[in-house]
């Protein structure tokens, strides 16, 4: 790996200031970034290690909001009683990530900001993500690539927690040199047509500090279903994060967000609208599955994601009925 300086900032202010240095990169758990540095996919001059910052690794409830520090490990997050109880979709998403070792090190902010696992990108092909100007998957091995929202890059967003956070209507607090801003999770992620080199709107020198969840009613049911390519340690082939606000057996409102199918967490507004005011029956769930894949645009080798997505949406809904 290329030689780099390591900085352990005292506080957030210093961290943000250090991140303004040329070619500085923020490190959370480092479980993915250090591997990328070894592979020369990232060649930072400065690593700003955030793990020593205090107060950004906890879950706290205040008023109408629950705040989760970006540095909380995925393992801690998945075991947090408040999250398990009221935001099950997020706890399940966090515990579906990778392996116990990675969940012990990897952070929530790191998972949300994780770079794609497209094998062309990870093998150093000169693709959009590596500073090039093409996507090799289009005519290549695209088994795991996007069926929605692709072009010019066809990566799929790798995060399990991101679809859960979008489904929960989370807000992301971002700190940068010029101050802080808070934006809805859905606005954080950006399609390749906006910028094919990146997956979100985080500017250089900015960090995702914390995530804010609206308080949920007890009538909310949520879950995360992930299809893996083996029984552990793969990213989602297809996943679904579903949050339903129920009135007895009737669904008042629904949020359905897919992972593994698009370059961003892929929300399904039409499906959500269909579900509002419905009982989640076998038939309704099946229709939702059909509607979920409307507009899908598969590549040569990922057409199987269409029946798979239908099945995942249907089953995830039924599991909450």
């Amino acid at each position: 790996m290329k030689a780099f300086a390591n900085i352990n900032p005292r506080d957030l202010k210093q961290a943000v200031s250090e991140l303004q240095k040329p070619n500085a990169v923020a490190v959370g758990g480092g479980s993915d970034l250090l591997g990328m540095v070894k592979e020369h996919l990232v060649e930072p001059d400065v690593l700003v290690h955030l793990r020593g910052l205090r107060g950004f690794d906890q879950v706290s409830a205040k008023g109408e909001e629950v705040t989760i520090g970006g540095l909380i490990t995925l393992d801690t997050l998945s075991r947090e009683p408040m999250i398990r109880d009221r935001y099950k979709v997020l706890a399940e998403a966090a515990e579906s990530v990778a392996t116990p070792q990675i969940r012990n090190a990897g952070t929530l902010a790191g998972n949300v900001n994780q770079r794609p696992w497209c094998w062309y990108y990870r093998n150093g092909f000169p693709c959009f993500k590596n500073g090039g100007n093409r996507c090799f998957s289009i005519t290549g091995e695209n088994q795991f690539h996007a069926i929605f929202g692709g072009g010019p890059s066809f990566i799929v967003h790798p995060s399990d927690t991101a679809p859960a956070l979008v489904a929960l209507g989370a807000k992301f607090r971002i700190a940068g040199h010029s101050g802080e801003r808070t934006i809805p999770a859905a606005d954080f992620f950006a399609l390749p047509k906006v910028n094919p080199a990146r997956e979100n709107v985080l500017a250089p020198g900015e960090v995702l500090v914390s995530i804010h969840l609206p308080k949920t009613a007890h009538s909310v049911r949520s879950t995360y279903h992930k299809v893996l390519d083996r029984e552990a340690w793969t990213h989602a082939v297809v996943s679904a994060a579903v949050v339903l606000e129920m009135d007895q057996a009737v669904c008042n409102s629904a949020r359905v967000v897919l992972g593994g199918v698009a370059p961003i967490p892929w929300r399904l507004p039409k499906v959500e609208a269909m579900l509002a005011g419905q009982r989640i029956t076998e038939d309704v769930a099946a229709k939702a599955g059909e509607a979920a894949v409307e507009g899908a645009n598969p590549l040569a080798k990922n057409g199987y994601k269409i029946p798979l997505t239908k099945a995942v949406v249907k089953r995830t809904l039924l599991s909450l009925a």
């Binding site: 030689a3 093998n123 290549g140 091995e141 390519d229 083996r230 552990a232 080798k301 995942v312």
Partner: protein, 701 residues
């Protein structure tokens, strides 16, 4: 079968405590004072001529001590190719991952920086990945003389085996079935990474290396470096697996030795995990075209196979497509084309010729049984081998018992059903397959000393690649000497301290070296009977070289039948192995504890090969996409079912106490058993490995 005192009883490994407490020193744990660290620069291109290499920037980097390229190193790696001259550094480079240069420097980081400063001017050449494409007219020539690798008689002809007359066999058939199958390149994926430390003391070379055979490595290092064998010492005290890709000597050992020579200090050369996947070797990918004739009563009349094995650009191993010998059949014709391609090198991986081939053969046999409305189990019982190639009597054969006992444990009669039967979304099915593996006897040696305290020091040249070979040798010695296991001290893994031993490949260690231990123990017992136990500082020593013959009119084989039950989710294409039964005839089982582990390991590798493992290539660039544990989808614990192991202990007149081979048979039928279970579950056949979700959803669509 007569019960023995030590052999046949479950015993923990004699080094178990060292291994589990981290006290065992693997090669990667060794540091020699003053040593340098070395890294390798590899070709990004699948086929390219090197016009020039500019080392000036690398040489100028402080801390760089030695650099090797094809321009200053003409060492031929003899074991790297049995047909062509394969240098340590080749020009042209013939696969993405072929070595271009090696650098030794004061630390890892300087060595890594240095290889990135080497500027190579490549002229890229056309490349070919598919073995059939490589044989087409106009395909780029990868090795001089063409892409069909020469056969054993050095002819540019496929390897052909024939018996009977294949046309007569098809004439005699009521029905003829034809189908074709493909299998992927699979990496050995052993846990221990590749690292060698080479140290010259004058003209005397010591190499610490994870090798499957210190003796082979020893003679081959001497051969390739053109130095007398007595000037070479190979040490491997603890070994973390190889599954066939640490047989013989390897390029990394030669590179370490040459760098150490150039630098004048010891050198430690390390491969990354990715290099291990791409640049060493894996199982050869195959394309198999079968045609089988059968009578309506299920009797086989003809088996024909035309097969292609992609060997990568260097011919390290057979490229065989085996397994037909498991069937009794009067007319057989098998033509196998080992072909050069620009993919990663293919060579030995646990039962090299078999699991991919048995997948093809047993898939078709299953289809035939179903087409004839026979239970696939009965079809195998009817057609299974009785004599090797219908000619030679087996020294022992428990195949029928393997099938019957395995079927019973699987509750075959209860679980078996018509293909695809059942109405639920999640479908269950069972499948089985069978196999055999050569269990010859051969050359090895052992030395046993006894001292006045009654300790027996057993010197054997084994390294123990995970099979518990050291423990096996101790058990065999204790049994034959009639002493408790605590009185046995095994000395292993060092060519300065151990006699020749056969390499730990071909599942031969128990039979070959175990037999030598038996003979040495017998000799020592004779000496003790004659002279009495040694007194004071006295020692008695027995030293044997053995090469027991097997009569030419018999064949010695191990046999196996595996049974899998799977659940296939027809909505998501997910396959789970829910029950697995392995029944093995390996003669007498020396240590049931570690033998059971062997079976579990082999079956696990086979399940991975059936369901998700592969080294996938980008066709446009000719470069691999799935190197490493993550992308290659190697098995995890959660993928591994409970594996039930049954021993069919036949009495065999040869081998130590009648032991036959075991390590490799464990993977042979596993891929096919899973594939056949998937077919039974969903009633659709996937003929290309691995049987991934996209293929399952594809055939169900």
């Amino acid at each position: 079968m007569k019960t023995l005192n030590t052999v046949g009883h479950p015993s923990s490994r004699i080094d178990a405590l060292l291994r589990v407490t981290g006290k065992a020193t693997y090669t990667g744990d060794l540091y020699v004072p003053g040593m340098l660290y070395a890294r390798v620069l590899r070709s990004p291109h699948p086929h390219a001529r090197i016009r020039s290499i500019d080392l000036s920037r690398a040489q100028a980097l402080p801390g760089v001590k030695a650099i090797l390229t094809h321009e200053n190193c003409d060492v031929i790696w003899g074991s790297g190719d049995t047909r062509n001259k394969r240098y340590l550094f080749n020009n042209p480079v013939r696969f993405a991952g072929d070595a271009v240069a090696a650098v030794a420097a004061v630390d890892r980081h300087v060595a890594e920086d240095a290889i990135r400063l080497i500027q190579v001017d490549y002229e890229t050449l056309p490349f070919v990945l598919d073995p059939e494409d490589a044989l087409k007219p106009g395909a780029v020539e990868i090795q001089p003389g063409g892409n069909l690798s020469p056969n054993n008689r050095n002819e540019r002809q496929p390897e052909v085996y024939k018996r009977g007359k294949i046309d007569d066999g098809f004439q005699a058939a009521d029905r003829v079935f034809e189908d074709h199958y493909t299998s992927s390149h699979i990496n050995n994926a052993q846990l221990e990474p590749r690292v060698a430390i080479a140290h010259w003391d004058g003209d005397h070379l010591t190499v610490y290396t994870p090798t499957q055979g210190i003796s082979n490595c020893h003679t081959e290092m001497a051969r390739d470096l053109k130095i007398p064998p007595e000037k070479v010492r190979i040490v491997c005290q603890f070994m973390g697996g190889g599954f066939g890709n640490k047989n013989q000597n390897h390029d990394f050992e030669l590179m370490a030795a040459m760098l150490a020579k150039q630098a004048g200090v010891p050198v430690r050369l390390e491969f990354t995990r990715k290099e291990d996947f791409v640049s060493v070797h894996g199982r050869w990918p195959t394309k198999q075209y079968y045609k089988v004739g059968v009578r309506n009563d299920g009797t086989l009349t003809a088996i024909q196979l035309r097969g292609y094995s992609g060997m990568g650009p260097y011919r390290k191993s057979s490229g065989g497509i085996g397994g037909i010998e498991i069937y009794q059949c009067p007319h057989v014709e098998r033509s196998v084309y080992p072909v050069y391609t620009n993919m990663a090198v293919s060579a030995n991986l646990r039962a090299p010729d078999y699991p991919q081939s048995v997948f093809g053969l047993e898939s078709l046999m299953d289809d035939i049984a179903y087409a004839l409305q026979m239970d696939p189990l009965d079809f195998r019982l009817k057609n299974m081998t009785r004599k090797f190639n219908d000619q030679l009597a087996y020294t022992s054969i428990g195949l029928e018992e393997c099938i019957r006992r395995g079927a019973e444990a699987m509750e075959w009669k209860k679980r078996f059903h018509a293909p695809g039967e059942g109405t639920g979304i999640v479908k269950r099915g069972v499948g089985m397959a069978m196999g055999s593996f050569f269990s010859n006897m051969g050359r090895s040696s052992a030395v046993i000393d006894v001292d006045s305290k009654g300790m027996y020091h057993v010197h054997v040249g084994v390294t123990d690649i995970g099979t518990a070979a050291k423990t096996t040798m101790a058990l065999i010695a204790a049994e034959e000497l009639g002493v408790p296991l605590e009185n046995i001290n095994v000395i292993w893994g060092d060519t300065d301290r151990c006699p020749y031993s056969v390499g730990e490949s071909g599942s031969r260690t128990t039979t070959h070296t175990g037999h030598a231990v038996v003979e040495a123990a017998k000799d020592l017992k004779r000496q003790i009977a004659e002279k009495g136990m040694p007194q004071g500082n006295g020692m008695l020593t027995a030293s044997v070289n053995t090469n027991p013959p097997i009569p030419p009119n018999v064949a010695r084989y191990s046999f196996v039948a595996h049974f899998a039950e799977v659940e296939v989710d027809t909505g998501t294409g997910r396959v789970r192995v829910t029950k697995y039964v392995a029944a093995h005839d390996s003669g007498r089982v020396v240590n049931p504890l570690t033998a059971t582990s062997q079976v579990k390991g082999g079956a696990t590798m086979g399940i991975g090969m059936a369901l998700h493992e592969q080294l996938l290539y980008d066709k446009a660039s000719g470069t691999p996409l799935t190197a490493g544990y993550y992308h290659a989808r190697v098995m995890t614990h959660l993928d591994t079912p409970e594996i039930e192991v049954h021993w069919i202990e036949t009495e065999d007149p040869y081998g130590p106490f009648g032991a036959k081979t075991l390590g490799e048979p464990t993977i042979i039928p596993s891929v096919a058993a899973v594939a056949n279970a998937i077919y039974n579950a969903i009633g659709k056949r996937v003929r290309d490995l691995p049987i991934t979700r996209d293929k399952i959803l594809g055939v169900l669509a």
